[in-house]
């Protein structure tokens, strides 16, 4: 295979990788916030369920979770879902990353002093306003470095989608490498991952800078 074709194919794979990346962030960031609420709930049952959820998601391999999410409908209910492959990947990634994000959110939320809540209460803010206007912006600033870490890990983790034979960059690189008996496609894929992450780190740094106007 010519180098040009290889780059083209890997480029297509890169697009698919980016798709998994952005969709996972889109779903897991809000879901993680919800799970963190559950984790901090006053109700012991909700708290217990959330804790269990986080423990399972963090305690088992993401690759295994991908397989379970994809094959469970068939093995459990005999359901043969068409076109379920890609949704399964997004679902598995989202519920896995939500667990990690939940703990990051929790750490951030618990680090805000109780005085902020009290000031908001005395000024008459309701609970929603207090959280979304006063607490969350401060939380986001504090957790940004941890979010960056997770986000960078996610870029690399997208390669795990190869277990479901999804044509993202890593899967394609492996195929070409096998066919051409060359390590070149893997090197190029590595370079692409690195560039992607470089861009992610750059973007996150900009966001952190934008929130730098206060302490």
């Amino acid at each position: 295979m010519s180098t040009g074709t290889m780059f083209m194919q890997l480029g297509k794979g890169m697009f698919s990788t980016a798709e998994i990346f952005f969709l996972t962030l889109l779903f897991s960031l809000p879901l993680g916030l919800l799970v963190s609420f559950g984790r901090m709930a006053r109700n012991g049952i909700i708290r217990g369920i959330s804790k269990f959820y986080i423990s399972i998601m963090r305690g088992t391999p993401l690759m295994l979770q991908l397989l379970v999410v994809y094959f469970a409908p068939y093995y459990l209910f005999g359901a043969n879902l068409r076109g379920y492959r890609f949704p399964a990947i997004i679902l598995a990634f989202s519920i896995n990353y939500a667990a990690y994000f939940a703990e990051i959110y929790r750490g951030g939320i618990e680090s805000i002093s109780v005085g902020q809540y009290e000031a908001a209460k005395v000024l008459g803010y309701n609970k929603g306003q207090t959280f979304f206007r006063i607490i969350l912006p401060q939380v986001l600033k504090r957790i940004m470095p941890s979010i960056t870490n997770e986000t960078i890990t996610l870029v690399k983790d997208t390669s795990l989608a190869f277990v479901l034979a999804h044509a993202e960059m890593f899967t394609i690189a492996k195929q070409i490498a096998a066919k051409d008996t060359s390590v070149m496609p893997l090197m190029v894929a590595g370079l692409f991952y690195y560039i992607f992450n470089f861009a992610v780190a750059f973007a996150m740094e900009r966001i952190e800078k934008a929130m730098d106007y206060y302490r």
Partner: protein, 254 residues
Amino acid sequence: MGAEVLLEINHMSKGFDELDVIKDISLSVKKGEVVSIIGPSGSGKSTLLRCATMLEKMDGGSLIYLGEKAAWEEKGRCVYAKKQELKKIQKHFGLVFQNFNLFPHYSVMRNIIDAPMRVNGVSKREAVSRAKELLEQLGLADKADAYPCQLSGGQQQRVSIARALALQPKILFFDEPTSALDPELTGEVLKVIRQLAKEHMTMIIVTHEMQFARELSDRIIFMEQGIIQAQGTPEEIFASDKERVRAFIGKFQS
């Protein structure tokens, strides 16, 4: 004084776990009055303030603002009014914290106008013009665009006073407003409170600044072990025949 009673507390009690922090406190504050609450640490002063401002739920007694009941006793238990009622009652008072508790991600201006706009539905233009007036009055006219982290402690505390005043409360509570400040900065905050007293703002101030309390207050309350041990005009308190009161005040004067 025939002035209207703004705050009435009857037989307030409050405990944490086994410990009774407030045993039985009754207190009423009239319009325009400045009341200082003094006493040793752990005497229940701050808890009293936190119960009065509904940051803490009291265990027993009643709490009434301008004749509107926020909490009262029913069959030996303390019950609070409905949420809607409490929201309304809460508008009657403001609170200035020891640690300011400004919102760090908001500019000074935003700190002051946000609550009037979001909570009371005041228009932005009106909120801003009122905020400018307040900042002018508190000597912070040039700080509107600054962020709290760029200000000294004294400036931050003055902003937090402006933030409380922006909601036009009828009573303003201060919880040791100068305890986190050095003497120089303390002076500039006390000056503002003095100015408010001149404008007949009704204030309840928990403080360790004895001279300040003496000069400013219409009434001083000495608290210890969860009860009011003595109260009266500054002259009465500073010339108290109660040995404990004299001993406490004396420590601050030496």
